[in-house]
């Protein structure tokens, strides 16, 4: 489902006089359908960078990122913007660490929007969003309110709903349980299990050891500037 080969990424900070910061060097990663791979390693080893590179958010310096999209393998590292948008729309989902807040849009619609762009009618989209939010313990009274005023944990749960609702075949999760209490952590764990059962390939970053142990099929350990499969 997802495969990186010799993925390399560094940053050049022009504002610091062109300081070059290498982060990823020759990363080879394989993820199969129904499998959850958790990126592990100390801070600063590029876990987030790798995840963002998989999503096409960070542009790879060299190497390839192959993703199974519409029956073909598409190289995110080489694809044009339109293709990446298409892959993100249909195949690749991403739950970031923080919800990017859009003014004025109620929580329900923040989540339902994802389905609307897939051509699902508004009522069905809203209904699906509603049940997912409820599953994540966001009560109905919050559904009509824009999430800007929500707590960190509530925002993260809206973010999660948004990420899971579209049933992408590949899912990238960046600290999915970070701001959550035990009950909600359990909900997320179950959602990950359900996704895996459907054949979703998952790559996750998770510092919470308990959650990690439950959801990970495999750990992918990263160390500074180097990587081993």
């Amino acid at each position: 489902m997802l495969q990186t080969r010799a993925l390399t990424k560094s940053f050049t900070l022009h504002l610091r006089g062109g300081l070059r910061m290498p982060v990823l060097s020759g990363v080879d990663l394989d993820v199969r359908a129904g499998e959850c791979v958790v990126l592990s390693g100390p801070s600063g080893t590029g876990k987030s960078t790798l995840m963002r590179s998989l999503y096409g958010n960070y542009r790879a310096e060299s190497g390839s990122i192959l993703v199974r999209h519409a029956g073909e393998m598409v190289d995110i590292a080489a694809a044009d913007p339109r293709t990446i948008l298409a892959v993100r729309h249909e195949t690749l989902g991403y739950v970031s660490q923080f919800l990017r807040v859009v003014p004025r849009v109620p929580a329900l619609d923040v989540v339902a929007e994802v389905l609307l762009t897939r051509g699902i009618d508004q009522d069905t989209a809203r209904e699906t969003a509603r049940s997912l939010l409820l599953r994540l313990n966001i009560p109905s009274r919050l559904h009509a309110i824009p999430p800007a005023t929500f707590s960190g944990g509530e925002q993260q749960r809206v973010n999660l709903a948004r990420g899971f609702i579209a049933n992408h075949p590949i899912l990238l999760l960046d600290e999915p349980t970070a701001s959550l209490d035990a009950e909600n952590r359990a909900v997320v764990v179950q959602m990950v299990r359900d996704a895996k059962a459907k054949g979703t390939a998952i790559v996750a970053i998770c510092h919470d050891a308990d959650v990690r142990d439950v959801i990970a099929d495999r750990l992918f350990t990263m160390s500074p500037y180097q990587d081993a499969a």
Partner: protein
């Protein structure tokens, strides 16, 4: 594999006397996508917008527009009547100052209905109903349909301009700093409105803005301009999260966040 573009500029150059406004600019726009052109004052972004929309003629270079039937037209080689018709139907232009695009002595309904009438709409009742529908879509109270724009606030004027522009369901809309000069809360409302209308109606938009946050919110792709050149282009999140060009890095790091 890649679908054909809706609008493409190639090799665009334009100088105003000794000042280089555009230098070898290539730009593409696909159907249904929003492209933000960002840059600071003097970057050439508005000039680029005007060249792409046929309002300014470049010194050299070409702008291609693809009709629904797949025919390609050189925007600057089009006869004036054809370009004018295009601007009144399939294209739209939202100005920073809504007064430039509204008839201040004509009622809100008349303003919204004008493009329909210019296209041959001849049923008063239908025109009025369509205008009412659009006022609702841009969240202007239906009771204001016969009011003169003189009595509208800045945000309302801008929303009226948007209704007037979108009434003919254009495929392509050019926007020049549509939220410039508006209060923050008014901006938020307007941005949300633009976002939902453009997504729902699948309109392609070229948006010029100096406000990166607006680009982040609205645009799929972004082009960063500096002194007449496009220095970086890509998906909005790519360019803003992983800026590569020194100028882009400067721009992104300069943004204040609340």
């Amino acid at each position: 594999m890649t679908e054909p573009t809706l609008l493409s500029g190639r090799g665009l150059n334009l100088k105003f006397g000794s000042i280089t406004a555009l230098s070898d600019v290539d730009v593409d726009l696909w159907p249904g996508e929003m492209l933000a052109i960002v840059g600071e004052s003097g970057s050439g972004k508005t000039t680029l917008l005007n060249v792409l929309s046929g309002r300014l003629v470049p010194d050299n270079g070409v702008v291609w527009y693809r009709e629904p039937d797949d025919r390609l037209h050189d925007v600057h080689a089009m006869p004036a009547p054809v370009l004018r018709t295009l601007h009144r139907s399939d294209w739209g232009f939202v100005h920073q100052d809504p007064r430039q695009n509204l008839r201040m002595t004509v009622s809100a309904g008349g303003n919204v209905g004008e493009r329909l009438m210019a296209r041959g709409a001849r049923h008063y009742g239908d025109i009025r109903a369509t205008a009412l529908g659009w006022l609702e879509q841009v969240e202007i109270d239906a009771n204001r349909i016969d009011d003169l724009p003189r009595t509208f606030s800045g945000g309302m004027l801008q929303r009226l301009q948007i209704a007037r522009t979108l009434v003919t369901h254009p495929r392509l809309v050019f926007m020049d700093e549509p939220t410039g000069g508006l209060d923050v809360s008014v901006q938020a409302r307007l941005l949300d409105l633009i976002r939902s209308l453009v997504t729902r109606l699948r309109i392609a938009v070229v948006l010029v803005t100096h406000d990166i946050a607006v680009a982040r919110l609205l645009a799929h792709r972004i082009a960063v301009m500096q002194r007449g050149r496009i220095v970086e282009t890509g998906l909005t999140d790519q360019v803003l999260d992983d800026p590569r060009h020194p100028y882009t890095q400067l721009l992104v790091s300069s943004v204040l966040s609340a």
